[in-house]
Subunit: 216 residues, 2 copies
């Protein structure tokens, strides 16, 4: 791994951007030192000089890309105060990131992580950046809701993040199906939101029912 001179940094950045472009446009199966270097406009061997191996480049690109994308939405997520507002922001993120493919990218890396050992931890870390933000919002938003008590924001945040990745991959093969899925989840969110609006008697009924049937 090379030191941080100005020239080195420039080439590294080119390679990182090239890796992200290649992963989103061609997928993990077509991502190689050659294809990435071509996208970056540099010699193929520089991948190995600057990052040691293709996998390590992809791992670095994952951290780099995920941090950059999450940073873009951190302030907006921090401002969310209700579940329906969260759903709106979620839909917004989907619309904006679909074009750039920044979410499907995590899907490509998750698929690749199956074999490429070094990729697993890096991808988990990239997803965690999203999970941390989602969990913070859910903790705030679901505090008063039966969900906050029974499901727990930590698990829900992981479910939301992983599901999002799955739907984003699904969109690649069936765009209208993916839209239907997102619409349904939005409505599901409204139904959960409706629980907050119930009177105290009904809320107690729900909680009582949950305490009886819940398994944990």
């Amino acid at each position: 791994m090379s030191p941080e001179t100005a020239k080195s940094l420039e080439t590294k950045t080119k390679l990182l951007d090239g890796a992200l472009r290649t992963l989103t446009e061609q997928g993990i199966a077509k991502t190689s030192a050659r294809t990435v270097a071509a996208a970056a406009g540099v010699n193929q061997a520089l991948v190995f000089y600057h990052f040691g191996s293709v996998d390590e480049l992809l791992a670095a690109a994952c951290r780099y890309g995920a941090e950059r994308t999450v940073a873009r939405y951190r302030p907006r997520l921090a401002a969310v105060t209700s579940l329906s507002e969260l759903l709106t922001v979620g839909r917004e993120i989907h619309e904006q990131e679909r074009a750039g493919g920044h979410v499907a990218l995590l899907g490509q890396l998750l698929a690749g992580a199956q074999t490429h050992e070094t990729l697993g931890p890096a991808t988990a870390a990239g997803l965690d950046l999203w999970i941390v933000e989602i969990e913070k919002v859910l903790t705030r938003v679901l505090a008063a809701t039966p969900l906050g008590e029974f499901a727990g924001p930590a698990g829900l945040a992981r479910a939301v993040a992983a599901s999002f990745v799955g739907i984003e991959l699904y969109e690649g093969v069936d765009a209208t199906g993916a839209t239907a899925a997102l619409d349904a989840l939005e409505q599901l969110g409204f139904v959960i939101g409706a629980l907050e609006q119930l009177g105290p008697v009904a809320q107690r009924a729900v909680r009582h029912h949950l305490r009886r049937t819940s398994r944990r």
Copy 2:
């Protein structure tokens, strides 16, 4: 594409099984005519003789594998009559298929479908086998629930299928995180289930709230 003599069929079957094994064990990135043929125990060139190209073999393997796996759970899903029962069956499917990797396989194919043109429709078709079954169950189970009215089983089924794939991929890089996610979704299901148990007054309140805030 070769005709259906006994010997041809045998080689084809070997290749299909080899493709499934390679995809689940090595991932889409390491899946090639050579690796698949090695897993199948046949000469590499037979991929091209029997299926024309690697992509077409993978597409065929997707149909083959998905049909076989879905068939295994079709009767059990058909017997489901409540949401909580559906959740139990879902968890069962997860436990049983995790070992074989039959769900993550769809993730690998979704990742690969990004570029391999022929793979997209085949993967969508494979996912649809699951979606059809899930949708039938949801239609039955959610008929009486606000979700049936507002979200619609078609969209929900697609959301469930895609989310499952995402979580299954996520499990590859963070097993405990994936378990937390599944637990949370199970609890979410119980909360939805609790809505069914509400008295008519509370049910009307929920529906009224939804009609006001719903966007469609």
